[in-house]
């Protein structure tokens, strides 16, 4: 999934890009209204985050123009103005959500995930749920479920788990996993992937110290091995 971020403040733009990228999205950026429109036409993103007060063209204007051609594209407005009237104008112009500055990283993440869930619901072929051990992964909801307990997942988490599940039984090397989940050829450092997997394990493994779902294959990468008592049920059916 591709997200366009249009924001005139450099640090805010880069920070936001980092946050969203770390969630597993591809990010394109623009620093003014005009370049936002250009980037939108060139890269055709799946979601747009717009700052309202931008040079050249305001976020409102960009929002209105995008809405004309793409009625279903999720648009998030980000602004330091948070009065009701500002929100109302934004919603009037077709924005889906509104984030007011200063925002917390967690808030942005929650909203991006919410937008992604809506996108999956709207898409023709939402990704199907699958079972890893006692954990049921719901990719379209960016969630996993175990014994009625819900675990929030990022898009990247889902992508990693999906690849491991598809190649169950086989080790998946770091490069492949990285290319799949980060969408980039070059692996900056092995730690990025390892750290992510370690974080993911903390959330989905019953005992992160001795992981069962994501096992380390030393020198190669990771592997998901179906345990015997689970071999029977859904996979074959």
């Amino acid at each position: 999934m591709k997200v366009l971020i249009a924001e005139d403040d450099f640090h805010t733009r880069e920070g936001l890009a980092d946050v969203i990228r770390s969630e597993g999205y591809e990010v394109v950026t623009a620093s003014c209204g005009k370049s936002a429109m250009r980037m939108f036409e060139v890269s055709r993103p799946d979601c747009v985050c717009l700052d309202i007060m931008m040079p050249e063209k305001s976020g409102y204007e960009v929002c209105r123009m995008i809405r004309q051609s793409s009625p279903n594209l999720p648009i998030l407005l980000i602004s330091a103005k948070s009065e009701e009237v500002d929100r109302l104008v934004g919603f009037e112009l077709g924005a889906d959500d509104f984030i007011s500055k200063p925002f917390s990283v967690r808030e942005v993440v929650a909203r991006i995930r919410a937008v992604t869930r809506r996108c999956f619901q709207l898409s023709v072929e939402p990704p199907a749920p699958f079972q890893m051990g006692d954990l049921e992964i719901l990719p379209a909801e960016l969630r996993a479920r175990r014994n009625g307990e819900t675990i929030e997942l990022s898009l990247r988490d889902v992508q990693i788990l999906e690849l491991l599940f598809r190649r169950q039984g086989q080790p998946v090397d770091r490069q492949t996993l990285f290319r799949h989940a980060w969408g980039e050829e070059y692996l900056p450092s092995s730690r990025t992937l390892d750290q992510h997997v370690s974080q993911l394990r903390k959330r989905i493994e019953i005992d992160p110290k001795s992981p069962e779902l994501i096992q380390t294959v030393h020198g190669v990468g990771y592997r998901y091995e179906q345990t015997d008592d689970e071999k029977q049920p859904p996979g074959r059916a």
Partner: protein, 553 residues
């Protein structure tokens, strides 16, 4: 400036002016009436004086005639001589006790005046009954010889006679009682009569031109009075039988058909005469200048008041503009502050995330990072409060309720404060019982709770203890109680803590803060259909906030 103070100002200017104008007009018309009354009174006084002069002159004439008619020998020649020699007389006449006319005897040779007299006065003299009754009853003399002859004259029968009789019975003076008025020729004639002791009745018809000119000669000279600048030019006149002008005097010439300014009836025997006076109408109704003065005064007052109103309006408008500028400046600055704040917060959070992933977690770096994060939270709360306060001032605060579980929001906020509370050693007790979904504005609830907790942090950290209770009343009211064991609130001041910029006692005011936190708590609670109050507390302070939500059915 809104419309209503402008309307108020206009009313403030218009109402007194209208009242002033109305009162002025009332006063003017009152004055007009008074002036008119005074002028009329003055004129009537003048006429009364004229009337007095004329009556006195008639009195003089009466005594002259009394003397003249005191004749006891009725020799024709001597009587003719008297008539001839006295210019005042038109004719004498004598009637014997048997009511036969002795002089001028119609059977004898008559001269011209005698003939004319008899011709015009024959019905008066020949008709004995008439003569008796008319002369004696009408004059009503104190004569004892005329007993039993007091039948009142029937005016109708008198009017039926060939000559026209007009006589008035009013204002009989005892000495002038023997006048008789008889009409012929150009107008009425005066006849004086007396009954002599020998039973003869002697009468004298006065020469009309002579007595009229005598009377006119007695009229007061007004020319001198009229020369004084303040006096009004006037015209007075004597009118006979309502229309015929006998004589008029004075400088002023009234237009015809104008009603006299004053008029007065003269007493008998001149009762057919009327005195009239005319003065210019603008002299009687002298209030015209008053209207100009009033209008000028009103215009001046209008100008003065309008000027004042415009001045007030401009002053007020400038103040309002300045206040607006201040608010918009604060708004602008607060918004501008948000961008760097966003970056500080975001990067600190990203850094925090990196540290979490670091294999050997560095405690020092974590602590420092926490300071940055907490301070950025505090700064954003501060900016949020300033903006909320400004919005409340502009009355542009609104509630956007969402279905939330209040306890979740409360826990979230407390977690955000956790590092600060831990550092200060404040023990936090949560008694949460609002697990139902309620339609409540989460941002607003957050802001309220943040303000209450930072209140504890600022003023009651010595108590080292804080309790947050939640509960739902009547299915849809969220009740939030934050208590502490700090110094508490002074009893007297407890009602003032919600006032903006109230900073409590001296030692408390040493603490940091803007002094609007509790004000915002109360405003927001009220905005949400609830209220914020001070709760009962054995030690420390306790704040109770209620928010009215819509229960999730």
């Amino acid at each position: 400036m809104t419309r209503s103070p402008k309307t108020l100002l206009i009313l403030l200017v218009a109402l007194p002016l209208l009242l002033l104008g109305w009162a002025g007009l009332q006063l003017l018309s009152l004055e007009d009436r008074q002036v008119e009354e005074n002028v009329r009174g003055l004129l009537t006084d003048r006429l009364t004086e004229t009337k007095r002069v004329l009556a006195a002159e008639i009195q003089v004439k009466a005594s002259e005639m009394e003397q003249l008619t005191s004749i006891d020998s009725y020799d024709v020649d001597s009587l003719r001589a008297i008539v001839r020699d006295d210019p005042r007389l038109f004719q004498l006449f004598v009637i014997d006790p048997n009511d036969f006319i002795v002089y001028p005897d119609p059977r004898s040779q008559l001269n011209q005046t005698e003939r004319e007299f008899l011709l015009n006065a024959s019905s008066l003299i020949n008709d004995r009954l008439l003569q008796k009754s008319v002369l004696e009853t009408q004059s009503d003399p104190p004569d004892t010889t005329q007993k039993g002859k007091t039948t009142r004259l029937n005016l109708l029968s008198a009017a039926a006679s060939p000559s026209e009789i007009i006589q008035k019975s009013e204002e009989k003076q005892p000495t002038a009682g023997r006048w008789f008025v008889w009409y012929w020729g150009p107008g009425f004639h005066l006849i004086y009569w007396q009954r002599r002791p020998n039973g003869y009745l002697v009468g004298a018809a006065l020469d009309r031109s002579k007595w009229i000119s005598d009377l006119i000669a007695e009229l007061p000279d007004t020319s001198e009075a009229e020369l004084s600048p303040n006096a009004a030019p006037s015209q007075s006149q004597i009118v006979e039988s309502g229309s015929k002008v006998i004589y008029k005097w004075g400088r002023f010439r009234p237009t015809s058909g104008v009603e006299p300014s004053a008029e007065l009836q003269l007493p008998y025997p001149l009762s057919a005469w009327e005195l009239q006076t005319f003065v210019p109408t603008d002299f009687v109704t002298a209030g015209k200048n008053g209207v100009y003065v009033l209008v000028a005064g009103l215009i001046l007052s209008t100008l003065a008041l309008s000027g004042l109103a415009i001045l007030i309006d401009r002053e007020y408008g400038r103040e309002a503009r300045q206040a607006e500028q201040r608010v918009s400046f604060v708004n602008q600055v607060s918004h501008e502050l948000r961008t760097p704040l966003t970056n500080i917060r975001m990067y600190a959070e990203l850094l925090e995330r990196d540290f979490e992933n670091a294999d050997p977690p560095s405690t020092d770096s974590n602590r420092r990072l926490n300071v940055i994060l907490n301070e950025s939270h505090r700064l954003s709360r501060l900016i949020g409060n300033v903006l909320t306060f400004a919005r409340h001032d502009k009355q542009s605060l609104t509630v956007c309720p969402r279905m939330i579980v209040p306890d979740e929001t409360v826990v979230e906020v407390v977690e955000r404060f956790r590092p600060v509370l831990d550092r200060m050693g404040i023990e936090t007790v949560l008694q949460l019982d609002a697990r139902k979904t309620l339609a409540i504005d989460a941002d607003l609830l957050e802001q309220i709770l943040e303000n209450l907790i930072s209140n504890v942090e600022k003023y009651a950290c010595d108590g080292k203890w804080m309790r947050i209770e939640t509960g739902i009343l009547d299915e849809k009211v969220l009740r939030l109680v934050v208590s502490d064991r700090g110094p508490g609130l002074p009893e007297r001041e407890s009602c003032r803590v919600f006032e903006p910029f109230w900073r409590g006692t001296d030692e408390i005011s040493q603490a940091a803060g803007t002094g609007i936190g509790l004000t915002i708590v109360r405003s927001l609670a009220r905005l949400h259909g609830g209220d914020a109050k001070i709760g009962p507390a054995s030690s420390g302070a306790s704040f109770v906030v209620e928010l009215r939500g819509v229960a999730d059915a």
